[in-house]
């Protein structure tokens, strides 16, 4: 068992040399492989998405910056043109002034269409004191001294761009552009001013282009916004850090930066460019948030799709992974089942399925292994051979199931009465063996044997009944009692029989003498016990013939033993033993039963009514149940009693005449015939024969053998024949082997004969065939043998 376990462990030990391979293999295992692929795919998808988003973002930024720049270019041109137009008007009006009344001059210019459209532009002329002396919109009488453009125009020579003024009545911001007027002496004589609503300069704000949060505006170099528009809202007058807003000297094609505008803290692509001719800078700005909305929308779409794709991928791969995992699990389960099945098969092959103990095959291996071990380490081992006493009786009386239960319980008890390292095995039937390895002293075995006897001896409860059994144990020691498996087993077996001989329920060590003496006898005896059960006995039949006609007159049944190992065993080899141990009685019963049944069968098959002779031994003859047994046999087989002939020997009848006569008479009363077998060898008193109720005398074969050659045989044979005739009983010659012998017997009027000359003993079927043939031959008028 240990050996087998050892082999199993060896198989499971991983191959250390392939560690690298196994790591690679583990990477290729579905769960890890799938996860790896998924992560890789996800990484690629997300990387591509982020990249696309980043590129789109960058493109959007560039577009926005470029757009701001373009818008700034256009706006700058528009502003410059508008300012020039205004300045030209100022210059024109100033130039036109002469001695005439200012209003007249203005009206003239207006009529000639030289002034900018009145709808938006107002032109006024003041005197040196700030009084409006002429105007396109009849504002005369107003005084503008307090206004900054007037103040500044008094000092400055160029066009003054006044601070924005909020006009309450129209709720709008107005810008005023002015130039000083000088008299002939170059002294300040007033101003000419053009005012326009500030919204004019940001009227090109297109929401479609600049968005709701873009900026269009003009900021003075003084940092004051002349106008600023975001969406629909137009403001003016707020101040900013001009230098921070307008980076002077920066190249026109410098990339537009995103800056948080100081006035509303909105991040914008801002272009602030100072005008060349005027103290103003244009401001064009695009809201970063607004400009990047489409890009962000696209980015969101990308992210959405990527997330969705990732989810889909994860789901699909997850499902695939799950499938593969289940497949692998199923495969593993199948593998485990197969291994378990193989283990079970192996277990069954090496274990007795009733008691779960090792069987003969495994025990044999373990024993050999144990012997090898003991030989190597110079140890002893003990082999205990156990056989239950009267197990057959228990089996027969309680049934097989109870018997099986008993064996199971017995197995348990045996297992419990030895150490873990000892081996208990069941060889079959009620035979158990126990191997005690590593015995250092013979004396160590005895306590174990005692323990076993005690364990077996305690009461069993089977089928609700309590009873006791016992066991006989034979012990052989290795190497003393045998150095190979067979010898050791045989000697333990012998010792076991010896224990049986010694009254059962004990143990015996093997000793040399056991073998020489009684080995054969014991073996034979043990075999004989089983022979009846396993149907090893055979009956052979030999015919008896009428000497004159040669016709078949009867049959003699002869016992043989078909031994499984020794072959066919002749009766003289085992009958004496059977006599001794009493087995002859059941064997005899079987013989009666079989022979009688056979005879009846033959009669039914059409063979003539022939007598059936059966031999009785002394022990049978004296058995109290003889008459009963014969009656039973006759009744059960239905054979006519007069066809049964019991053959007894001379010696048997001479032993105790009174008893013999009583038995013979009982038998005769049943109608059975009595024959004396082997007559002539017993030196019995011929005279005494008269006292017995005999029917037949059978002359021993040794006399017949001599009838042709020796005179002694002739005379004895002749005497017996005559005796028989005188007593009126049939005389049969046994062992007839030649025609000469038959001729002699016929000459001396012997009644019947049997022997090899006509038929040797044969098995039933063969015998029937031969007799049938002979019957056919003798039915024809053929020459007789």
């Amino acid at each position: 068992m240990n050996e087998l376990a050892g082999q199993g462990e060896e198989k499971l030990t991983p191959d250390e040399g392939h560690a690298g391979h196994s790591r690679l293999h583990r990477l290729l295992e579905p769960p890890i492989l799938f996860s790896g692929i998924v992560l890789l795919l996800l990484a690629v998808i997300w990387a591509v998405s982020f990249n696309l988003v980043a590129r789109d973002h960058l493109a959007a930024e560039r577009t926005a910056a470029a757009l701001a720049m373009d818008l700034a270019d256009t706006y700058e041109a528009q502003v410059v043109r508008a300012l020039r137009e205004i300045d030209n008007t100022l210059k024109l009006v100033r130039y036109s002034l002469d001695t005439r009344e200012a209003q007249a001059i203005l009206d003239e210019l207006r009529t000639k269409g030289l002034l900018p459209p009145e709808l938006l532009f107002t032109v006024n002329i003041t005197d040196a004191n700030g009084n409006v002396i002429a105007g396109t919109h009849s504002a005369t009488g107003e005084n503008v001294t307090a206004l900054d453009f007037f103040q500044r125009s008094r000092e400055e020579d160029g066009m003054v761009i006044g601070a924005p003024r909020h006009e309450q009545s129209a709720n709008e911001w107005r810008l005023t552009f002015s130039r000083r007027i000088a008299d002939a002496g170059q002294r300040f004589a007033g101003v000419v001013a053009v005012s326009v609503h500030a919204g004019y300069f940001v009227s090109v704000y297109e929401e479609a282009v600049l968005g709701e949060h873009g900026v269009l505006g003009l900021v003075g170099t003084d940092g004051v916004f002349r106008v600023r528009r975001t969406g629909e809202a137009i403001t003016a007058g707020t101040s900013v850090d001009y230098n921070a807003l307008v980076t002077r000297g920066s190249a026109d094609d410098a990339p537009t930066a995103v800056t948080p505008n100081p006035w509303d803290n909105t991040r914008r692509y801002t272009v602030a460019r100072e005008l060349y001719e005027f103290p103003l800078a244009i401001v064009v700005a695009l809201s970063e948030a607004e400009q990047l909305v489409p890009a962000e929308r696209i980015a969101r779409t990308y992210m959405w799709r990527t997330a969705l794709g990732s989810l889909l991928l994860a789901t699909v791969v997850g499902l695939l992974g799950r499938l593969s995992w289940q497949l692998q699990k199923a495969r593993t389960r199948a593998m485990k089942e197969r291994v378990a099945y193989a283990r079970r098969v192996e277990y069954l092959a090496y274990h007795d399925n009733l008691t779960e103990l090792p069987n003969r095959a495994l025990f044999s291996r373990l024993l050999i292994h144990g012997m090898q071990y003991a030989r190597r380490y110079d140890k002893q081992l003990a082999l205990l051979f156990l056989d239950l006493d009267h197990f057959k009786a228990i089996n027969d009386s309680l049934g097989h199931e109870a018997g099986d239960e008993l064996l199971q319980e017995l197995g348990r008890r045996l297992r419990e009465s030895v150490r873990e390292s000892d081996v208990v095995a069941r060889l079959g039937g009620d035979e158990f063996v126990i191997l005690l390895p590593e015995i250092s002293e013979d004396s160590q075995v005895q306590p174990v044997a005692d323990k076993i006897l005690a364990a077996v001896g305690s009461p069993f409860t089977l089928a609700g009944q309590e009873f006791r059994i016992s066991v006989s144990i034979g012990i052989a020691l290795y190497p003393h009692d045998g150095e190979d498996e067979q010898t050791l087993m045989k000697n333990a077996d012998t010792a076991m029989y010896y224990a049986k001989e010694r009254g059962r329920n004990n143990f015996q060590f093997y000793f040399e003498k056991l073998n020489s003496d009684s080995l054969e006898r014991l073996a034979l005896e043990s075999g004989m016990r089983k022979a009846l059960q396993s149907d090893e006995f055979r009956l052979f039949y030999q015919s008896k013939h009428d000497v004159r006609s040669g016709r078949v007159t009867g049959i003699e049944a002869l016992l043989r033993w078909q031994h499984p190992d020794l072959g066919l065993i002749a009766p003289m080899l085992f009958i004496p033993l059977a006599e001794e141990n009493g087995l002859i009685v059941p064997i005899g019963r079987w013989v009666f039963d079989t022979a009688l049944r056979q005879n009846v069968a033959w009669q039914k098959e059409g063979l003539p009514r022939l007598s059936m002779a059966v031999n009785l031994t002394a022990r049978q003859f004296l058995d109290d149940n003889l008459v009963l047994d014969i009656q039973n046999a006759l009744r059960e087989t239905g054979m006519a009693p007069e066809l049964l002939e019991l053959e007894i020997t001379e010696m048997m009848i001479m032993h105790d005449m009174e008893v013999t006569i009583r038995i013979l008479q009982e038998l005769k009363q049943m109608g059975v015939r009595i024959a004396i077998d082997n007559f002539g060898t017993g030196y019995s008193s011929l005279a005494k024969l008269k006292g017995f109720p005999l029917d037949t005398l059978k002359i021993d074969g040794s006399f017949i053998h001599d009838v042709v050659s020796g005179s002694e045989g002739k005379s004895l044979t002749q005497a017996i024949i005559e005796l028989g005739k005188s007593l009126g009983i049939t005389v049969v010659a046994e062992g007839v082997e030649s025609k000469e012998q038959v001729d002699y017997l016929r000459l001396h009027a012997c009644d019947q004969y049997q022997g090899f000359y006509i038929n040797k003993p044969m098995p039933a079927q063969e015998f029937a065939d031969v007799v049938r043939e002979q019957l056919q031959e003798s039915a024809q008028p053929a020459p007789h043998p």
């Binding site: 528009q78 043109r81 459209p117 709808l119 938006l120 129209a170 919204g199 004019y200 009227s203 090109v204």
Partner: protein, 137 residues
């Protein structure tokens, strides 16, 4: 809100003051009628010819005159502020010029009578035989 509010208030006040405004052309002008859209296009600088192909010269009145307000709200359905914004954009971007402005109804009558390409608006009292009222459908 305030700009529109003020405008409306002003309009209502002036509207009640001025009874009516008619569109006129020179009696020599063959134009019999104009649609609202055509009139609007002419005054917003989108159309430079009469439907018959003759060039058109619109004449406007001053922004603060009662007739101006009446005309724009009645025939063009636009407030002065919107008109101003419209022309601001066109002028600033250099894509147009508003109609020339004359001082009052009389000036309009004189201008239109003297120019058979002209079209103008004025109070009906001043329509004489040199002028013809163009129905706006």
């Amino acid at each position: 809100m305030t700009a529109i509010g003020w405008g409306l208030l002003l309009g209502l006040m002036l509207g009640t003051a001025s009874a009516e405004v008619v569109v006129v052309v020179s009696s020599e002008n063959p134009v019999q009628s104009l649609s609202h859209a055509e009139l609007a296009d002419i005054y917003l600088g989108r159309m430079h010819n009469f439907p018959n192909g003759e060039s058109v010269v619109p004449v406007d009145q001053r922004e603060n005159s009662p007739t101006h307000h009446e005309f724009y709200s009645r025939y063009l359905g636009r407030t002065p502020a919107l008109i101003k914004a419209h022309w601001s954009k066109l002028i600033f971007s250099g894509r147009g010029r508003p109609p020339r402005t004359v001082t009052d109804d009389k000036a309009v009558a004189e201008f239109v009578a003297g120019n058979h390409h002209a079209i103008g608006y004025l109070t009906p009292e001043l329509v004489d035989k040199r002028l013809r009222v163009v129905p706006i459908e």
